[in-house]
């Protein structure tokens, strides 16, 4: 029983991070139609900026409990980075074939990965001092860090806020209109360029937030973005590309399967994950909640 609860909590923790990455990816794809290969690198930048900033602040004597308020720094940095990349690099390619966009965003991925090494070095960064002030909770025979509940809560709150943004706000209406027909949207007075920058900024922020909140529990290492990208692809493919609810369900499913895989068949846990994705895609080629093109 203890192990079961622990594994469920671990799965929820992992699902929260996956949801943050995948929801940003699917938002950008849904609005702009771009499969952003650099999205995993945004997650990595979020982790590195947060880890470096918190380390710097700690060295200046800031109390560990105060450091938690600076966690979103990485996400904000990534949002700014995304809002610069979209109009300068991506926008000229929207009218081009998808392979150009894939090549371009893959190039951005490589630049960011090298940029991370150049700026932060190759050594792993960890800021686990943030976890201790939260304490831990006794659940049966094991203690579970409260910080992990913060991560799970962040995923849930983000899912709610994204839903509210998309379906209960003026910007959401504009975003959905633009994602459906950008020409007609512009003829209705919508500044499509501005909507694209904001959507890309929000999508990037979500990936950065994933990196920022995971870095107290896992080290920020060079190459972490690539693994995140691959798993995010699986989440989005399973949930249905362009669907926020699909991203949430996909993240939960992938996290549960991977956690169970690690526990029962650790040798082939990734293979199990991809087999599940293949199974879902064979059954529903557009993913669980994706719409047929």
């Amino acid at each position: 029983m203890d192990i079961f609860i622990l594994q469920v909590l671990n799965a929820l923790f992992y699902a929260s991070i996956l949801y943050l990455i995948a929801s940003g990816f699917t938002l950008i794809f849904g609005v702009m139609g771009i499969a952003n290969m650099a999205h995993g690198s945004f997650y990595a930048v979020g982790a590195f900026v947060t880890a470096w900033s918190l380390g710097f602040l700690q060295s200046r004597g800031v109390e560990p409990w105060l450091l938690v308020f600076f966690l979103p720094l990485g996400a904000i940095a990534v949002a700014i980075l995304g809002m610069l990349i979209e109009p300068i690099l991506l926008r000229p390619f929207y009218q081009r074939a998808h392979e150009y966009q894939l090549l371009l965003t893959f190039g951005v991925l490589l630049i960011i990965e090298d940029g991370i090494q150049m700026i932060f070095g190759s050594d792993p960064l960890l800021v686990d001092m943030v976890i201790a002030p939260f304490g831990s909770l006794q659940i049966f025979s094991f203690r579970y860090p409260n910080y992990n509940f913060v991560v799970i809560g962040t995923g849930l709150v983000t899912a709610f806020l994204l839903w509210a943004l998309m379906y209960r706000s003026r910007f959401g209406v504009v975003l959905r209109a633009t994602s459906q027909d950008m020409r007609m949207a512009s003829a209705m007075g919508i500044n499509v360029g501005k909507v694209y920058v904001l959507a890309f900024g929000i999508g990037s922020f979500l990936a950065g937030l994933g990196g920022a909140i995971i870095v107290p529990t896992q080290t920020a290492v060079v190459g972490m973005g690539l693994e995140a990208l691959i798993i995010a692809f699986v989440v989005v493919a399973v949930g249905g590309i362009g669907s926020q609810l699909g991203a949430l369900i996909g993240a939960l499913l992938v996290a549960l399967v991977r956690t169970a895989g690690v526990h029962f068949v650790p040798e082939i846990e990734l293979a199990v994950l991809f087999l599940i994705a293949v199974g879902v895609l064979l059954w529903r080629p557009t993913g669980l909640l994706g719409n047929a093109p």
């Binding site: 959905r176 007075g189 500044n191």
Partner: protein
């Protein structure tokens, strides 16, 4: 109000408009008539900024709008109702309409007469919309979709309204309903520029017509005189 001076527009490598010139005065109802491929919708998309004009000039109320983005042109008071209606199917009818209001220039709304509102205007033209405004725009008939498309453009509080194929696909009884609606819109002081394939439908409401053929203006004048031109007669009657 609107002047097109010798404009040339391409779609990809194909030159569609070969030096079109037009003048539309305040309060007029003008129809652009022609067969499929004559350049009617290309002219409209050039005006609204959805297609880039290669050469020539378009001016609206004295301001050069030739190189302006579509959203800037819309905010200056040019509404557009496309032939396929262009409704956002993921949104409700109400949300489709609101988008226009949110992006209308507040100064133009302020200039409306006391007690006059965008809702009043739209519902006086198409009172039926009140009954299905909460419905998803996918679940509408062809006539209802056209009503919403025209109403949505009216929510931009336009002084010039471009309507592509207002009567296309409508039953004869509904056509008279739409003709009355367009007359009401004209009475509100909104200038109308329509694109029509069917000359008799265009002549129901238009004060003047421009007949286009292969991207050139073939005739400009009153609808009743158009058929006196043998070239127009040949084109419009086949």
């Amino acid at each position: 109000m609107l002047a097109l001076d010798n404009i040339e527009t391409f779609r990809g490598p194909a030159k569609i408009l070969h030096g079109i010139s037009m003048k539309i005065e305040e309060g007029e109802v003008v129809a652009i008539v022609g067969r499929n491929g004559a350049g009617k919708i290309t002219t409209m998309e050039s005006i609204i900024g959805l297609l880039r004009v290669k050469s020539g000039q378009i001016s609206f109320r004295g301001e050069n709008i030739t190189r302006m983005s579509a959203h800037s042109i819309a905010r200056r008071g040019i509404g557009f109702s496309p032939g396929d209606c262009g409704l956002f199917s993921s949104l409700s009818v109400q949300e489709n309409l609101e988008i226009g209001r949110w992006h209308a220039d507040p100064k133009r709304i302020d200039k409306m007469a006391d007690g006059d509102t965008l809702e009043k205007r739209v519902y006086s033209v198409f009172p039926e919309i009140e009954g299905f405004k909460r419905r998803n725009s996918l679940k509408l008939s062809g006539g209802q979709r056209k009503m919403v498309a025209i109403s949505r453009a009216m929510y931009l509080c336009p002084s010039l309204l471009l309507i592509d194929e207002a009567f296309e696909g409508l039953a004869p009884v509904v056509i008279s309903r739409f003709r009355d609606a367009l007359k009401k819109i004209k009475e509100m002081g909104i200038t109308l520029l329509m694109a029509e394939s069917n000359f008799s439908n265009a002549s129901l409401v238009a004060d003047r017509v421009y007949v286009l053929d292969r991207g050139e203006v073939l005739y400009e004048g009153k609808p009743k005189d158009a058929m006196n031109d043998p070239r127009v007669k040949k084109i419009l009657q086949g």
